[in-house]
């Protein structure tokens, strides 16, 4: 019993400092200095939220760039990976479906990121190679010059970590928004 009272006091003080105080400080900082990010990096078009810049959404029509496969079906209330072993037959079957959907052939193979599901199923990016691969389809569907679409993708590419992670990637939602803006 001699340890119970100090334990309860310790409960109270750590709760006040590490939960109430700490949360209030971080909340105040985030909402004060970077409110858009603190609320989920939502993107608004004409005053209507169309998605989060950080969260993949599904694209299936040929006129948009498609994101990486999602084991969660792009369901952002239950994100998950496929959790399939790289040696799994189920993974081979899923990959074959993806390859067929893109119509890829051995002379024009798909970049691997378009076939591999991401960890959380909500990866907002594809590789620049993956975007360029889709450029002919997108251009044809929209009646645009392929070179213009390729240029758009290249302009949107970033190296995520500079010299530490130089392979260029493209944010799919932002790229598709840029596509829509060309049309207007």
């Amino acid at each position: 019993m001699q340890y119970l009272l100090p334990s309860l006091r310790l409960w109270l003080v750590t709760m006040l400092v590490c939960v109430v105080g700490y949360t209030a400080l971080v909340l105040g900082f985030a909402q004060g200095f970077t409110p858009a990010r603190a609320n989920g990096s939502l993107i608004e078009v004409d005053g209507r939220a169309i998605g989060s810049a950080l969260v993949a959404q599904q694209f299936t029509t040929p006129g948009y760039f498609w994101p990486r496969p999602s084991a969660a079906g792009y369901y952002a209330m239950g994100a998950m990976g496929s959790n399939l072993s790289p040696t799994s037959e189920a993974l081979t079957e899923r990959a074959a479906e993806t390859v067929a959907r893109y119509g890829a052939t051995s002379s024009a193979p798909l970049p691997a990121d378009l076939v591999a599901a991401s960890g959380g199923g909500l990866d907002p990016h594809i590789s620049l190679a993956g975007a360029l691969y889709q450029a002919p389809r997108v251009a044809a569907a929209r009646g645009l010059q392929e070179s213009a679409v390729r240029q758009l993708a290249s302009d949107a590419a970033i190296a995520p970590g500079g010299v530490f992670a130089p392979d260029p990637i493209v944010n799919v939602l932002e790229l598709n928004l840029a596509l829509d803006r060309i049309e207007e």
Partner: protein, 552 residues
């Protein structure tokens, strides 16, 4: 390859550099150099009398019982409490038990997805609170152990030590990290999920919440439990390369600093340097192996029209860079953190063996405080074996190692493989395990083996294909986590308590020096033989069988 080495140097080297001043500060903090702050904190808990090992252990157990009772109740009644904008319903009691045990023990094994299970109140006042105080419990226990080894008359005061660790170490670092994470895009809001209409006109509901505060202490306290289901692969939990670097850095810096803190308190920095070197060597070995194994492309894509020059991308996020998967996997399991930057179930078979080995060893820096405590057990065994080899009475820094101490040390060390292999055998042989695996064959066995390794190492990562939110899994891993947390804290305290009851001898010329390369090599050998070879048969049935039979 170049950027892989560069990233590894940046994170491991940077953390190692920063751990030195942090360890120095922690040594001073727990050495009582901040008299006024100590006075205030002592008053808060009603005085801070010096405690012997039994009193210290009882205080630790009492507070951990309060932690368990409070959070169990909070999680069980979350649906009736405020701060629940997404209307989370009542969770099953077996899941409440498992989750409470998981966060009390600093494990953070998660048999649920946060965004679809817990209210904001449950996440913050329940789980996040435990992420602070469970890590503080570990650091406090290490301080007590070190004081005993240093030959102080008492072990200190548990209630004071927890406050020192919470307010003096974890809180300031968490504030800095949470601020940085918020700037990089981790949400921090009490609003419920966002409803959006996508460009193609579909409805999408995007979970968010007070994540930045949660994620910061998740990383720093070797907790690892994510705010969102897929942990740090979720773009709102780990939005960009910088947040990723900071997260990996935060995983390892406190466990590293704990070694220096130990050295400061016992006054033997060269000894701490040898320990640090052994831990670092094993960690770098694991990182190197993981990076190498993961550079093999996804086996399942062979023969399909897929370009395969980038390594295995299944379960990985592009913005985090290719090295994140294997590097994070090695670091998070070396430290008993258990957050993930890529899905471990989808790692190449031999890469998946590396995090398992990390959890089997469990002291290549290890959890906050407890990693160094685990290491003390290995040191005791290494000193004993060395003493036997040269035919002298073994002593550790002048403390004689006799039958009682050795029995206790071996009991604690042997409990680890018994819990892992016993649990794995039981679940692999019965429907409890067999009906829950997601992948067939050797990989399914690996899923079960990984789950018990993670529970027993208080790690918390998983091969998440496993359907582990079942009554047998929740109860079995809940019990394993509790045993595997408190036994390896209490037994070393008892060993050092036994040192303190005896007269400490002077170190003579015949005493094995614990400050040189010979001792480092001896320690390494004991760790590898004890820690790794015990598990070799199980590894053969899981990852190694999968690799040899299916990777071409």
């Amino acid at each position: 390859m170049f950027e892989t080495i560069l990233t590894t140097i940046l994170i491991i080297g940077g953390a190692a550099l920063l751990s030195w001043p942090l360890g120095r500060y922690m040594g001073a903090l727990f050495g009582g150099h901040f008299v006024r702050a100590d006075g205030v904190m002592a008053r808060i808990t009603g005085g801070a009398p010096e405690q012997g090992w039994k009193a210290y252990a009882l205080a630790l157990l009492a507070f951990n019982a309060v932690m368990f009772a409070f959070v169990f109740a909070l999680l069980a009644f979350q649906h009736a409490l405020p701060l629940n904008p997404d209307g989370q319903s009542a969770a099953s009691l077996d899941l409440v038990f498992n989750t409470t045990a998981s966060f009390v023990t600093n494990t953070n094994l998660q048999h649920y997805s946060g965004e679809s299970t817990w209210s904001y109140l449950a996440q913050l006042a329940g789980l996040m609170w435990l992420q602070f105080v469970s890590a503080a419990t570990g650091i406090a226990a290490l301080a007590a152990l070190a004081r005993g080894i240093a030959g102080r008359p008492g072990m200190g005061n548990f209630f004071l030590d927890v406050q020192r660790a919470s307010f003096g170490v974890l809180l300031p670092l968490a504030l800095l990290l949470a601020g940085a994470l918020a700037l990089s895009g981790v949400p921090m809001t009490f609003s419920g999920a966002a409803e959006v209409t996508t460009l193609e006109g579909a409805a999408q509901t995007i979970a968010r919440g007070p994540a930045a505060a949660f994620v910061a202490i998740k990383q720093l306290g070797t907790n690892g439990g994510g705010f969102f289901g897929p942990n740090s692969t979720h773009p709102l939990e780990n939005p960009d390369f910088l947040s990723n670097l900071l997260s990996m850095f935060a995983i390892i810096v406190i466990p590293m600093a704990c070694v220096w803190m130990f050295g400061r308190i016992i006054g033997r920095m060269r000894h701490a340097g040898v320990i640090f070197g052994v831990m670092l060597a094993l960690l770098l070995l694991k990182i190197g192996l993981a990076v190498e194994f993961e550079s093999a492309p996804t086996q399942a894509f062979t023969g399909l029209a897929v370009m395969q020059e980038v390594g295995n991308l299944e379960g990985k996020e592009l913005r985090l860079g290719a090295v994140t998967g294997p590097l994070w996997a090695a670091v998070t399991t070396a430290t008993s953190n258990g957050s993930v930057g890529a899905m471990h179930d989808s790692l190449n078979p031999l890469t998946g063996l590396v995090p398992m080995a990390g959890m089997w060893l469990n002291e290549t820096f290890g959890g906050a405080g407890v990693g160094m405590i685990n290491m003390v057990l290995y040191i005791v065994v290494a000193v004993f074996v060395s003493g036997m080899l040269v035919g002298r009475t073994p002593d550790y820094l002048g403390h004689k190692l006799e039958g009682r101490e050795m029995r206790l040390a071996v009991l604690a060390l042997i409990s680890h493989p018994v819990l892992i292999l016993g649990g794995t055998a039981l679940f692999a042989a019965t429907a409890w395990g067999r009906d829950t695996i997601a992948n067939t064959g050797a990989h399914g066995f690996s899923e079960i083996l990984y789950e018990f390794s993670s529970a027993a190492a208080n790690n918390g990562s998983g091969f998440e294909g496993l359907g582990d939110n079942t009554v047998p899994w929740n109860i079995a891993t809940g019990l394993v986590m509790l045993i595997a947390r408190f036994l390896p804290i209490l037994v070393p305290l008892a060993i050092v308590g036994s040192f303190m009851a005896k007269r400490r001898g002077a170190e003579s010329a015949g005493t094995l020096s614990v400050e040189g390369a010979t001792f480092g090599a001896m320690l390494m050998i004991v760790i590898v033989i004890f820690g790794a070879l015990t598990f070799f048969p199980a590894a053969t049935l899981g990852p190694i069988a999968e690799h040899t039979s299916l990777m071409r």
